[in-house]
């Protein structure tokens, strides 16, 4: 599904924001530079065990809820990636690999590596969205934009 867009998560110049929700539905956005696309899954590093996003993500896994990733690519295109948590990795040799990478790249301890399954991708680049709406919902256009050659009496 949209692998060429998901691959943009691996661009170091991209801005990546993870949005999770708490039990009241209140959104909690955080910049997650570690987000990446690997072997068909989205992965990110959670450094803080007690963070709100970690708690929200745990609840999302437990209660089958979703998270959203806002991706601003280096070419200024933006996408929303809806995903659901598939697994929380805190042990085994897989975790060790992530732990060593986190220590080397970021210098911090690593709480967990979250694996997310992408569900849907929608583009929200401004030009793309405006153009899309202008074509699909013609009543939302201002008439002066649609004016042709001036008619004279």
């Amino acid at each position: 599904m949209g692998n060429e867009i998901l691959e943009l998560l691996n661009d170091g110049a991209a801005v990546k924001i993870l949005v999770t929700a708490d039990e009241t539905g209140a959104p909690h956005p955080v910049v997650k530079d570690s987000l990446r696309f690997e072997d068909g899954k989205i992965i990110y590093f959670e450094f803080c065990e007690a963070s709100r996003s970690n708690r929200n993500m745990t609840n999302a896994l437990w209660f089958d809820k979703k998270a959203v990733i806002l991706l601003l690519a280096s070419d200024k295109r933006s996408f929303n990636i809806t995903a659901k948590p598939a697994r929380c990795v805190i042990n085994t040799k897989v975790f060790q690999r992530y732990y060593e990478e986190a220590r080397e790249k970021y210098g911090f301890d690593l709480s967990s590596a979250w694996i997310l399954e992408p569900l849907e991708i929608t583009e929200h680049s401004l030009g793309f969205r405006v153009e899309q709406e202008s074509r699909a919902r013609s009543y939302f256009n201002h008439l002066d934009r649609l004016a042709g050659k001036e008619v004279t009496a």
Binding site: E49, R55, T58, N59, L61, W62, F63, A86, R87, C88, V89, I90, N91, T92, K93, F95, Q96, Y98, Y99, E100, R103, L110, S112
Partner: protein, 412 residues
């Protein structure tokens, strides 16, 4: 009235995550590994059981998985259970390890990797896995595996416990030692710390030892020797750790805290009711007593600080035998009442689902405790922690993994 099914409990308590509920029920009913599941176990990679302080439900120490991992990262310690006791089934199908019930696939699970130090020996030739067992994130050290409550002067071992019978079997079958040498422990910790990202806490527990000039001096003296040996491996004095000891006096706890790197203490009261405590834990009743046990727990908060003192209950024994509470409602009210008194004093209670073991007195003919009871109890204990602002980092899903209520602390 028959007990609610798993799905009925899940529907009645929607705030209780199904995955944690499944973990609770895996503890309650046990698991049976099929031959295909056991064939998928790689002894060179995966951790197998046998070194735990307590035995299994079927009384066998054969190489079977010590535990499973769920997709939320939590671990489930498993005790292999005979089929006639209606356990969950763990099978290997289509390349996946699955938990099944009545033929229906419920959840994918995973074996956990054994640590790198397994298979190695200390300078004295002792197998390191017999010195320190491993949970996914915890170094599990049992310096002394004999419980003196089982001896002639002991008063009697706890009726749900099989520690001494299990030790006899381990000594005969897997060269397990009764008492560890602190030097072996120090060397094994050093080896374990070479594995990046593997462990987050050190845990010690032993059989109770009331001997000494005053009761439990011998236990504390030995723990101090062991903790000092462990501490040599760290660059800081205090390291993330938990000691599970007898309910010793305040001055003994002060020594333990001042002279070692230990940062939290747990003193398991086992059953939160005085009458049942006296029946089920006669040795603890003789050498400490119920009210004194509670007092010493609260005293420990002054030394270790808030969020660092706990007590475990073997949840379900309060309903066991002819002496147990006549109903789950009565048991729940009593247990939560006592737990609240402790929580108000800064002490966190945790649930350990009673798993009847072959070598214990209560192992035979036990009453079936409902899943709903455990769900209500776990929710109750976690609610108490929230009410009194208690954290359970030292005994949570990663540092221990054996308490469904402290798993809830991740999200609730």
């Amino acid at each position: 009235m028959s007990a609610l099914s798993f799905d009925e409990v899940a529907a009645k308590y929607p705030q209780f995550p199904r995955l944690v509920l499944l973990k609770t029920d895996l503890h309650r009913r046990g698991v049976y590994y099929t031959d295909k599941a056991l064939s998928s176990l790689d002894p060179d990679r995966h951790q197998t059981g046998g070194t735990h302080i307590f035995g299994t439900r079927d009384g066998k120490l054969t190489q079977r998985p010590e535990a499973l991992i769920l997709r939320d990262g939590a671990s489930v310690l498993t005790t292999s259970t005979p089929l006639e006791e209606d356990p969950y089934i763990v099978d290997f199908t289509d390349g996946r390890l699955m938990v099944l019930d009545k033929g229906k696939e419920l959840e994918e699970v995973f074996f956990w990797d054994k640590p790198d130090y397994y298979g190695k020996r200390t300078s004295k030739g002792v197998l390191m896995q017999n010195v320190i067992g491993a949970r996914p994130q915890r170094l599990y050290i049992t310096p002394n595996r004999f419980c003196f409550f089982w001896s002639d002067e002991g008063g009697g071992g706890c009726q749900f416990c099989d520690i001494v019978n299990n030790l006899k079997q381990q000594r005969a079958e897997i060269e397990m030692q009764t008492r560890l040498d602190p030097q072996d422990i120090a060397e094994t910790v050093a080896e374990a710390l070479k594995e990046p990202g593997r462990f987050t806490a050190v845990f010690l527990t032993s059989g109770s030892d009331y001997r000494g000039k005053t009761p439990f001096d011998s236990e504390i003296d030995f723990y101090i020797d062991v903790l000092k040996a462990i501490g040599r491996n760290f660059a800081i004095k205090k390291f993330p750790s938990q000691i599970l000891c007898s309910a010793v006096r305040k001055d003994q706890l002060q020594r333990l805290y001042d002279e070692t790197g230990v940062t939290s203490v747990t003193m398991d009261i086992e059953v939160l009711d005085e009458r049942l405590f006296n029946i089920i834990c006669p040795g603890k009743a003789k050498w400490v007593g119920y009210h004194e046990w509670k007092k010493r727990l609260v005293d420990a908060v002054e030394i270790f600080g808030p969020n660092r003192v706990g007590t475990g209950v073997v949840a379900g024994v309060e309903l066991a035998g002819p002496f147990g509470f006549p109903s789950e409602d009565e048991a729940l009210a009593a247990v939560l009442g006592e737990a609240e008194e402790l929580a108000a004093g800064g002490v966190s209670s945790v649930v350990q689902v009673w798993q009847a073991r072959a070598g214990s007195k209560l192992g035979k003919g036990r009453r079936k405790i409902s899943l709903e009871y455990y769900a209500r109890l776990a929710l109750g204990f976690q609610a108490l922690r929230r009410k009194y602002g208690l954290e359970i980092d030292f005994d949570d899903y990663r540092r221990c993994g054996n308490h469904p209520d402290s798993d809830l602390a991740r999200g609730l």
